[in-house]
């Protein structure tokens, strides 16, 4: 096929000519489900509107494969009352492919944990068949259900239909973004808090920041039930909420013995004892194990290996890390531990988390430069200034190690030390009174 020769065969019926797709055709074989086959099915058997759009979309996509260039540009499209949530896409080659000249995505917030009934999936498919292209991605990297391929005119109709079945747009642009949680308490024994409640509480309390973008840049929350961090919160969110526990790991010694009997003593030593990051585990001569809980860092490894014998303790809660992001523009950053532990059980606990999230976003709005993420703001002003603004006390769990630089002014060291001892005394006092 030559450039510009995208007209293809003459139609037999009233249908438009099918664009040849020699490059995409090569992505239909093989054992993995093919997105090309799916799009072709929309072109050949979809609703009348889907057929037209997808024929031209395939034409443009094949041209991208041939020329190895993208042909979409952005713009401004939204729905009544909102300023974000739609990713506008206008084709730069609409003269060749007019039916897919507008191919916007509606970012829609999913149920936390990504649970769906078949009725819901069919409702969504019907809505998108009518108003969009018939192509939906479950899910984007921020957790959105991505309804891909809508005209400007149909964007409002599609949103109205989705909104009527209880769904709302997510974030785009300089705004609060859609959030994600792991399956968590719904189906995982390692879950250390109610992830779906925390997610809904935090996000639904800040919806204005999502629907009417007015922040310096994006802000993301992610919720993982334990340190396995199945939604990649430490790397991928401005504020990561990670489940943990304060008391001892729970051990069922009978199950430990069964594990050792089944897997072997050497294998257990190699894969459990030797792999503990803080050398906190030892295997006893009777094939039970001993854990030094004061040294344990709650990494989850031994619990992952011995799912029946070991489990998180009962005094559960969350850790909070702030400042994770992808490359733009200073390079990838991971979150910094700022709150090693807070309880998350009572209504008051959840309110505390929501207030903290609100304060964090407010700090970001007030202090970040344009197009700066909160991790970059912290790097620019220093962690002490951030903690002071957020009224968070310093804690040695925030650092890999204390500073190694002597270039620091320490004339108020005694006052700072006094605060530390006062806080420690208070904590000890509280503990005594609780007992």
């Amino acid at each position: 096929m030559k450039d510009g020769d995208h007209a293809g065969d003459k139609p037999e019926t009233g249908k438009p000519a099918i664009h040849p797709t020699p490059h995409l055709d090569q992505l239909e074989d093989g054992p993995w489900p093919s997105f090309v086959t799916g799009i072709k099915k929309l072109r050949d058997e979809g609703s009348q509107n889907n057929q037209l759009v997808m024929n031209d979309l395939l034409g443009q996509l094949d041209m991208s494969y041939e020329n190895r260039m993208g042909y979409w540009k952005g713009g401004a499209v939204s729905v009544f009352g909102y300023g974000g949530g739609v990713i506008p896409r206008f084709s730069e080659v609409a003269d060749k492919f007019p039916e897919s000249k507008e191919f916007h995505t509606l970012r829609v917030m999913p149920p936390p944990g990504f649970h769906y009934t078949t009725d819901l999936l069919r409702n969504m498919a019907d809505i998108w068949e009518e108003h969009g292209s018939g192509l939906i991605a479950f899910h984007g990297q921020s957790g959105d259900i991505m309804f891909q391929g809508c005209t400007t005119e149909n964007t409002q109709k599609a949103f109205d239909a989705l909104n009527k079945i209880g769904f709302d747009l997510g974030g785009a642009g300089p705004a609060l973004r859609t959030s994600m949680s792991c399956v968590g308490a719904a189906r995982c024994e390692q879950s250390c808090f109610d992830e779906q409640r925390a997610l809904r509480g935090v996000i639904n309390n800040l919806l204005d920041e999502m629907h009417r973008p007015a922040l310096p840049y994006k802000f993301k929350f992610k919720f993982s039930g334990c340190a396995n961090d199945c939604v990649n919160a430490i790397h991928r969110s401005d504020m990561a909420v990670i489940g943990t526990w304060r008391d001892d790991i729970k051990i069922n010694q009978e199950k430990v013995k069964e594990h050792v009997a089944e897997k072997g003593r050497k294998y257990t030593i190699d894969t459990v004892v030797s792999m503990c990051p803080t050398r906190a585990i030892s295997l006893n001569d009777d094939d039970t194990i001993e854990i030094d809980n004061k040294s344990c860092v709650r990494c989850m490894h031994c619990i992952n290996v011995m799912t029946k014998a070991l489990s998180p303790g009962d005094d559960k809660g969350v850790s909070i890390l702030v400042g994770g992001k992808r490359s733009l523009k200073v390079g990838d950053l991971m979150g910094i531990m700022v709150i090693p532990f807070m309880k998350l059980e009572t209504d008051e606990d959840f309110e505390t988390l929501e207030t903290l999230a609100e304060d964090m976003v407010e700090f970001f709005a007030d202090n970040a430069l344009e197009h700066e993420r909160i991790g970059e703001t912290i790097d620019r002003i220093g962690l002490p200034a951030f903690l002071e603004a957020m009224e968070i006390d310093v804690d040695p769990n925030m650092v890999a190690h204390p500073t190694t630089s002597s270039y620091v002014r320490t004339d108020d060291f005694d006052e700072e030390a006094a605060k530390w001892f006062e806080r420690k005394a208070q904590e000890a006092g509280l503990q005594i009174s609780a007992e």
Binding site: G113, I136, K164, V183
Partner: protein
């Protein structure tokens, strides 16, 4: 026919926010919410969770193409209705999960999914679905196509998806530009630009907000300039690191070209805190061709890295932990990749990535 004001007034959104997941959740999951006891995996692609109540739920995990047409969605829904009690969920990596309460329902469900072309796997020590971005299908700044790379790669790694024969889980990601929306991975397959952007000076003044483009550059290589009598921007090409950060806010600064858009492969990224702390991936090789639709050179290198890891890593070692043990010299030797000056970090904090010790590998 005349329209009343009411007819033309747009509907006001019901700002419902994040929906309540309980209305869509499998009843056994709902009943045992927060009260699970343990899990195991009877076979690759199947999880068995046992609740403290004694309830048991079997989960069958299948791979999908993520970008799904309504026919595929309805097919997946039909399978759920016929074989899996009408409920599904998706994983972070776009696998679909079906939950059934009876063991004897597992095999017919697997057969139905396999017959419909959905591979069963992605659990435990397997290569799960690749987390990816949009690419040529939808992105406004892509250097390549994500869905195509993923399709080719998962075809090649199909056997490693449907069985659990890797040392530990192997997470692969792809990104269509250096912003790295695909995220960190044990193996990351990312676009790497190799030339400074080519500027269309006729368009800059009208399309780009010049001060914010100048501010976007991480190495301060862009400055305002008059070109051919028009306000535009110019680049100090000696400073430019070819990151492409100026291209999204200023499309006339085209970063992509057939010749200069390349693929780099990175290794050793990890999200989990299990054993070692989370890590970023590190450069393994750059300058591979962006050879759509099969990317054979990329597949070949990924295949070699996967094979080396599979043959040499100990059980539970992730890619980065394996390399930490064997050392980078052995990694480059085993994968037959070149170690070059470009593997030496020169970014902020580079010093901390050097070996400040007498520890060496032979």
């Amino acid at each position: 026919m005349s329209q009343t004001a009411e007819d033309v007034k747009p509907r006001t959104a019901d700002e419902v926010g994040v929906p309540d997941p309980f209305q869509y959740m499998h009843p056994t999951l709902k009943e045992n919410y927060g009260a699970w006891d343990y899990h195991d995996r009877p076979r690759a692609g199947v999880l068995r969770h046992v609740a403290k109540s004694g309830d048991v739920i079997y989960t069958v995990r299948a791979g999908t193409q993520r970008q799904m047409d309504v026919f595929t969605i309805r097919k997946l829904a039909d399978i759920a209705d016929n074989f899996a009690e009408g409920f599904v969920r998706f994983t972070t990596r776009s696998n679909i999960e079906y939950m059934v309460t009876k063991e004897e329902m597992v095999e017919p469900l697997i057969d139905a999914l396999n017959d419909a072309g959905f591979p069963i796997g992605g659990t435990g020590a397997s290569v799960s679905m690749i987390s990816h971005t949009q690419g040529w299908l939808h992105c406004d700044i892509p250097g390549t196509d994500a869905s195509g790379v993923v399709k080719g790669m998962m075809d090649m790694l199909h056997n490693e998806f449907i069985q659990e024969k890797m040392p530990n889980r192997l997470k692969i990601t792809t990104s269509c530009c250096q912003i790295n929306c695909g995220g960190q991975g044990d193996i990351a397959i990312n676009v790497q630009y190799t030339k400074p952007p080519k500027i269309n000076h006729d368009l800059v003044a009208n399309v780009c907000e010049r001060p914010s483009v100048v501010a976007r550059c991480p190495v301060a290589a862009i400055r305002p300039a008059m070109v051919n009598g028009k306000p535009s921007l110019e680049i100090d090409e000696k400073k430019c690191v070819c990151c492409g950060a100026c291209y999204p806010p200023c499309p006339p600064m085209q970063i992509n070209s057939v010749e200069s858009t390349k693929i780099a492969i990175w290794v050793g990224g990890k999200h989990s805190n299990a054993r070692t702390k989370p890590t970023f991936h590190k450069l393994a090789v750059a300058n591979l061709p962006n050879n759509a639709p099969h990317w054979p050179e990329v597949k070949e290198v990924v295949g070699r890295i996967v094979a080396a890891y599979k043959s040499d890593a100990k059980h539970w070692e992730r890619m980065g932990e394996w390399i930490d043990r064997i050392g980078w010299p052995r990694f480059f030797e085993m994968t037959e990749l070149a170690f070059t000056k470009h593997h030496l970090d020169i970014w902020t904090g580079a010093r901390h990535t050097m070996n400040h010790s007498a520890h060496i590998h032979f």
